[in-house]
Symmetry: C2
Subunit: 230 residues, 2 copies
């Protein structure tokens, strides 16, 4: 899993290297820099008007996060996306969300009823305003609530890491936006099953819910196979 909880994330700018690291990471994850794009230490250094050393440090960290690929004595490129990596992240997320659902269902005492229903209303409101950014945040918040209900707050970090791996595939995809109503319906059913303490039903809808994203991801892979390594 990736090191998204690195201290550099807390305060965005401590050193010059951090600045470059954060900037490049944003560029890559937001697909402003596409996989395969060539980068050179000297070039980026000149661009930011700093020396090559901090750039090199940023490159190393991005390489560790599998966002860059440093090829010794050759060139550094934005790392092509690994289909295996995507599969793995999806598998981990499914596994974790299922266990979270199970724990939440077993321990559920109704204390989170109000919070969950409030979340659903907020999601609906954001959809009516067609505010995708808000909906994305609410989706994150919703799954976080499930983790809290399962008394496994740290599970959200894992899910968050999985999302980080797959998120950049969703940004350019308008397919996702069309499916948000289904996503909201899923969330409603998840809450219903949880409140009813219907474990089997909850696990089934959780699978279906996560499966939707898989379809969107597959579609993207077909559209943009040039971004992938294999």
């Amino acid at each position: 899993m990736s090191a998204t909880s690195a201290p550099s994330e807390v305060e965005a700018r401590r050193t010059t290297a951090d600045t470059v690291f954060n900037a490049l990471r944003e560029d890559i994850t937001k697909m402003r820099l596409c996989p395969g794009t060539r980068l050179s230490e000297a070039e980026v250094a000149k661009q930011y008007d700093i020396s090559r050393q901090p750039v090199r440090e940023a490159f190393i960290r991005l390489d560790n996060l599998r966002l860059l690929q440093i090829r010794p004595q050759r060139a550094t490129v934005v790392r092509p996306i690994s289909r295996e990596g995507i599969k793995r992240a999806r598998f981990v997320r499914l596994s974790v969300e299922l266990e979270v659902a199970r724990l939440a269902c077993e321990q559920y005492d109704g204390s989170a009823d109000a919070t969950l229903h409030q979340q659903l209303e907020l999601q609906q409101a954001s959809l009516e305003k067609a505010d995708m950014t808000a909906f994305t945040q609410l989706d994150y918040s919703f799954h976080n609530q499930l983790c809290l209900a399962a008394e496994r707050p740290h599970a959200m970090k894992v899910i968050s890491d999985c999302k980080a791996t797959t998120d950049r595939l969703c940004i350019p995809s308008a397919v996702y936006a069309k499916r948000t109503p289904e996503v909201l319906e899923d969330h409603r059913e998840i809450v219903d099953r949880l409140v009813a303490r219907d474990l089997d039903g909850l696990l089934a809808i959780t699978r279906e819910h996560l499966g939707r994203l898989d379809e969107s991801l597959d579609a993207f892979q077909l559209e943009h196979s040039e971004y992938f390594e294999d």
Copy 2:
């Protein structure tokens, strides 16, 4: 989480920085360097008779793997172990192994019967010879076989990463050695349940199996609380 599939692992020595990185990583994961130990770039550089730059690069990579903690303008120390991190790794492993077991059980067609039983015999043989190293490898291999039976070979990478997080707690613990007979018994039952396609039984024994390690880990945390951050 960790970058165990980094290209540096294939060929252990490509650059000077790789050499230092691998050496230090070994030292830390094998507990030759205990959490809290101070390290300085200059010191290590002198030790290896190289400049500070490659050492610095190695430090950065180890910091990304959460094995070191670089504290700017102060000192670099072997990062204290995070109890949260341990919990998270255990949770992820349990979740993944459960899903692997489920898939393996659903798809099981008996073709792996011979391989699995052979694995069990090898495990027994290594225990009779009190060869812990062999048993550890066979344990890895056994869980890998389960992933293959589930047709999720990449799941083993996740499990492997989780193990990497927790393994260094087991090395100094003699408690683990005493429990290996139980581990073998668990493996036997796992195979039995799988062959019988008894899903509920398989999930139950999988939980119990992984729970044993949790107990050992808890014991270690009580013994060596000085190695932990919180």
